[in-house]
Symmetry: C2
Subunit: 267 residues, 2 copies
């Protein structure tokens, strides 16, 4: 059986105090592990502890940057319900807490009933007409971009070259470089992988956007194939921004929505 | 000094194990306390414990209904940072956990810089052309509606009489009945006070929408006067819905955004 990079990267081993894991190189932006990746790392230990297959709604608070190296993960059941298991999680290094998580885990049907859908996948051209996100763009070195194939909508892609589109939006395709199928854990990563939508708003500093809080609602198991994604920032006030994501699978179904509370980069 | 109803309802007293409080009658829907109210009750003890004035991003997981009567509240600092204090909170009765909270608290400037705002307050007619939400509507007895003045957009208000508008949206005005100024704690209540937007989607059961998870981002201190609010549900799939809220103050500034993960009512 082929070992996919992402499975290795979110793998945790049970030990006396919970779980231990190693954050590998290459899931980072400028040396700090991506927030979606660390959410997936924590959620993977949480779902194993709780015995429920899928993260359904997960919130992470980012307390300190996560660099490559060993970490410990604790996962505790808050309530074991019939439909949901509510859990907390925590990722630490040398006793210092880096991430706190709170989430509900449960089951998902293989096919999700589409009761009411006001909207659809974003209008992204075929991959060969998109701009591939590369590990070096603007002032950042995005190791993450080497693990993934991210194809950006040409209208949204020039922000990294200091030509913002004027609208706080990033759209594009997402898939794993090594062909790993995108499961619900992969959705947590995908929801935080794209260049910040705020980069397309003119006259703002394009630098590191620290995420304070990030919540993902997983709505369905993705069909095989790439995701089409859109991320929008409509409100930047008082140095704070939100970014709202929608992730759609290749069958045209909504598979996740996300929202983060982030901080505007400072000069 | 006048004692406002909401201040009394979110008041908690320190004791040996944390905080104790009493959930009063009348902040309920069919006997269960409103989710925004219980978030505010927990957040009030959290901000007092952490010594930071404002909830900035707060997530609640609802584990069991909260009926009137005594509760205990615990509040613990996860990380005391320079800009944010990250905290967990928990509301319990007889040892049983009812609500788990996770949030970041901090300061807000009296005036919030409006850097980029793509949108504006919802188009709601003046109050005298709106429909006042009454405590009895449809099959629910909404005690909450007696504490508040909620004026619904006439196009959105007939869902409670089984005439959904066709669009998953509820808009209206919010203020406290007794004239209490709306502060950042009041925003947590306001963000969950309106009739569910899903009620305006045709051909669905209009019954209790249990909230699993609810997150509010507080973006500014409201100017005096009523809030204009809009709540939208765009995706109902697999028995699950989201509801996204925007709360604007009387000066036309965005003061909060909210999102919940809820369950579709069943017949």
């Amino acid at each position: 059986m082929k070992a996919y990079e992402f499975d290795e990267a979110v793998c945790a081993t049970p030990d006396d105090s919970g779980w231990s894991a190693t954050v590998p190189d290459g899931w980072d932006i400028n040396g700090n592990a991506n927030g979606g990746y660390v959410m997936a790392l924590g959620a993977n230990a949480m779902r194993a502890t709780g015995g429920r297959a899928h993260p359904l709604t997960v919130t992470a608070h980012y307390l300190a940057p996560v660099t490559p190296g060993p970490v410990t993960i604790s996962a505790d059941v808050v309530k074991q319900g019939r439909r949901f298991t509510t859990m907390t999680g925590s990722i630490r290094r040398d006793g210092r807490e880096l991430i706190r998580l709170l989430g509900a885990f449960g089951d998902l049907d293989p096919v999700t009933e589409q009761t009411y859908v006001d909207g659809g996948p974003p209008d992204v051209p075929p991959m060969d007409q998109c701009i591939r996100r590369t590990p070096v763009g603007g002032t950042a070195v995005v190791g993450l971009a080497d693990r993934l194939n991210m194809w950006l909508h040409p209208d949204d892609a020039e922000a990294l070259d200091d030509r913002p589109s004027g609208t706080g939006r990033t759209r594009g395709w997402f898939e794993f470089r090594d062909g790993r199928p995108i499961d619900t854990l992969g959705l947590l990563l995908a929801a935080d992988s794209f260049p910040p939508a705020v980069f397309n708003i003119p006259d703002l500093i394009r630098g590191w956007v620290p995420t304070v809080e990030f919540t993902v609602h997983v709505r369905a198991i993705p069909s095989p194939g790439p995701l089409s994604c859109s991320f929008v920032t409509r409100f930047v006030t008082g140095g704070v921004l939100h970014e709202d994501g929608e992730l759609w699978d290749s069958a045209g179904n909504l598979v996740a929505i996300s929202r983060q509370y982030g901080l505007l980069a400072k000069s």
